[in-house]
């Protein structure tokens, strides 16, 4: 890998462990400390204008990874860089630039927006905060932002309690766009909505991302959403990225059995319901030796329980599996 200077984010073997104290003192005797590895050696880059989907079951570490990217939590090991600077150590102008440049769209849009503020003030808050807009132009800027997300300017005077779920999420997106960021980060931003509202928002996000050239890091457990919205995908399992590459390639010919299992589980018109992946994601405490997916993997062999597979690059793709699935050789 060369010329990394333009990368917006770079994660180098990021680990995040939580000390979970003496949860089972009675079993192990007082004082035995246990650690939970929410992230365990994550390597990732986000380039300008690129869209990346993070997928995986609940508990796989997606939100923790996002919190590291946003500087809300510092890695316990490894490095998390924003434009080549350690995120957790950003200060002064760098910190301000980071706050303007990286915008978060929350999962719970309604809960993240102050119900006592009007839509105007909610969307203008980042403008005011960063001193980005003269007072006189405030309304016009907000009107333009609302129009960008498909809301009429008349909505400015309303409170979020008077808006539908889809409208509230649009307000949250307008607010995120206000500081003219270069990265949008979203955690399950369309879940829990009607399919029609979801489709509208996804189309909006894709258009915004393409037209404005912003980067997008989008957490979802819906592979259809990932495929529609993001050029790249990173599949996570128990704190690791187990497969990554161009979304279409990964989803049409997965190398990792876990990716295939997620694909099989996704609803597909008129297909018989496939044999589900057995069991649930285990707790990241006291992981077994060897491959962490072995307990649920239909491809597992003896060596899988001994050797922990590292993420191996194969062209533009990478996967962490000792016995990758057969796939047609990459075209071209």
């Amino acid at each position: 890998m060369s010329a990394t200077s333009t990368d917006i984010f770079r994660l180098l073997d990021v680990e995040k462990t939580y000390d979970i104290g003496r949860a089972s003192a009675s079993l192990f005797g007082a004082g035995k400390r246990r650690k939970l590895a929410a992230l365990d050696g994550v390597r990732l880059t986000v380039k300008p204008g690129e869209s990346l989907a993070l997928v995986g079951e609940s508990g796989s570490g997606k939100t923790t990874l996002l919190r590291v990217l946003l500087g809300l939590t510092a890695p316990t090991d490894g490095r998390a860089l924003f434009r080549e600077k350690e995120i957790a150590e950003l200060k002064g102008d760098d910190r301000d630039r980071f706050a303007r440049d990286v915008a978060l769209i929350y999962q719970d849009a309604r809960g993240s927006l102050n119900p006592r503020m009007t839509v105007l003030d909610l969307v203008a808050e980042p403008l005011d905060h960063h001193g980005l807009c003269p007072r006189a132009e405030r309304r016009d800027r907000v009107a333009a932002l609302l129009q960008r997300v498909g809301l009429p300017a008349e909505m400015m005077g309303r409170y979020t309690s008077a808006l539908s779920g889809g409208q509230v999420r649009r307000v949250a997106i307008a607010r995120a766009l206000a500081s003219n960021p270069s990265v949008l980060v979203a955690d399950e931003a369309v879940s829990g909505l009607d399919v029609s509202t979801q489709a509208q928002l996804l189309k909006l996000l894709r258009d915004l991302q393409r037209d404005m050239g912003v980067s997008l890091v989008f957490i979802t457990h819906d592979l259809g959403v990932a495929a529609y919205l993001c050029e790249r995908i990173a599949v996570m399992y128990l704190g690791r990225i187990v497969e990554t590459g161009a979304t279409r390639e990964v989803l049409t010919a997965p190398a990792h059995p876990y990716t295939r299992a997620l694909l099989n589980a996704s609803p597909k018109f008129f297909a018989p319901i496939a044999e589900p992946l057995p069991g649930e994601i285990p707790s990241p405490i006291d992981l077994p030796k060897g491959c962490r997916f072995a307990g649920r993997c239909v491809e597992a062999r003896d060596d899988c329980r001994l050797t922990d597979p590292a993420l191996r690059a194969d062209g533009a793709r990478a996967f962490a599996c000792l016995h990758p699935l057969d796939r047609p050789r990459a075209l071209g």
Partner: protein
């Protein structure tokens, strides 16, 4: 490799799309519900055969949960404003007394809710919640109920069933809680199972497990099942019949295969176009909007959002007619 689950399907070619097959376990006829000024359900009819599965689909507020609650006698009392019939094995649920319901609810008709964590009582162990209906409704002794409870938990794929009896709901994951709910719902061998978005809070992997579990277990028992679903692709996989609701009205209904392969109602077409599959390149989302529930409003409730609307659509309500193997309410069907 992925083994296929054979789902019994009604024959779309020879089928009469009638709302009332002779061997129906459930026949909902002209069900309407008014609450104040709002007509929440408007003349809803559908039927369900023994052993068949039916999907209720539509956007938020369409009336799906309201129908499910009516079918299990949990609509807010007094049951004013409810009109029409719900014939379950010949008896009308709409006029059942609370005493009748004691023999039906949780016994012959059970329900699984979307949010298992709030449907289970946090103060009681899994064992207590599972054994209470077995003892009260089926009259089993404590020892018998315990044995049966373990069998039921094993049946829904919960490992270590014996020790799970002493667990409290919060000690289980969302998927495990949903399994416990299914075990409770199935414990009395109901003939009709209602599942209101049983998996929308869960990962796709767990969703696949749970849907399959519900289908396997109801099929084993010859029971019928009504799923409330948001995902049309999942409906096509799991259900024999489908009822598409908008603003409390049936827009299109019939065999899931027929309706979803070739939807004729603009609303069904629009909903289907919102479903993202892995290879979806472009989305054509339905315009936003929500139905008016005003009971006096004439015309098609979908008209303000409909790209195919004709002039008459705003003034005259389209009747639900039988056509091309389904029931359809539209003046200007697609294709």
């Amino acid at each position: 490799m992925a083994a296929a689950l054979a789902i019994p399907r009604s024959d779309p070619a020879g089928a009469t799309p009638a709302a009332a097959p002779a061997d129906a376990l459930l026949r909902v006829e002209n069900l309407s519900l008014t609450r104040g000024e709002k007509l929440i359900l408007d003349d809803v009819s559908f039927a369900l055969k023994r052993g068949a599965t039916l999907a209720l689909v539509g956007e938020s507020g369409a009336g799906k949960s309201t129908i499910a609650l009516a079918l299990i006698g949990l609509l807010a009392r007094p049951q004013v404003g409810l009109d029409g019939r719900m014939l379950f094995d010949g008896a009308d649920l709409a006029t059942s007394s609370e005493r009748d319901w004691l023999r039906l609810r949780g016994r012959r008709i059970s329900m699984i809710f979307q949010d298992a964590s709030s449907a289970l009582n946090p103060c009681f162990t899994v064992g207590a919640q599972l054994m209470t209906p077995l003892r009260r409704l089926l009259g089993l002794s404590k020892a018998q109920a315990r044995k049966r409870a373990v069998e039921l938990l094993e049946g829904v794929g919960l490992s270590d069933a014996e020790s799970r009896l002493d667990a409290y709901p919060h000690q289980l994951s969302g998927g495990m809680q949903q399994r416990v709910m299914i075990a409770i719902a199935l414990s009395t061998n109901p003939e009709l199972l209602l599942a209101d978005e049983p998996t929308s809070a869960l990962d796709v992997t767990i969703q696949a497990q749970i849907v399959r579990l519900i289908l396997d277990e109801t099929r084993k028992r010859g029971a019928s099942c009504i799923f409330v679903l948001h995902d049309l692709a999942l409906a096509s996989q799991a259900c024999d019949e489908i009822v598409v609701l908008y603003g409390g009205q049936v827009m299109e209904a019939g065999p899931a295969e027929t309706v979803l392969r070739e939807p004729l109602h603009p609303y069904t077409v629009g909903l289907k176009a919102c479903v993202l599959e892995i290879d979806t390149e472009e989305l054509e989302p339905l315009p936003s909007g929500s139905p008016s529930f005003a009971s006096k409003r004439p015309g098609c409730r979908f008209a303000p959002r409909c790209a195919s609307a004709l002039e008459k659509c705003a003034g005259e309500k389209p009747p639900l007619i039988e056509t091309r193997g389904r029931r359809l309410a539209c003046w200007n069907p697609v294709a």
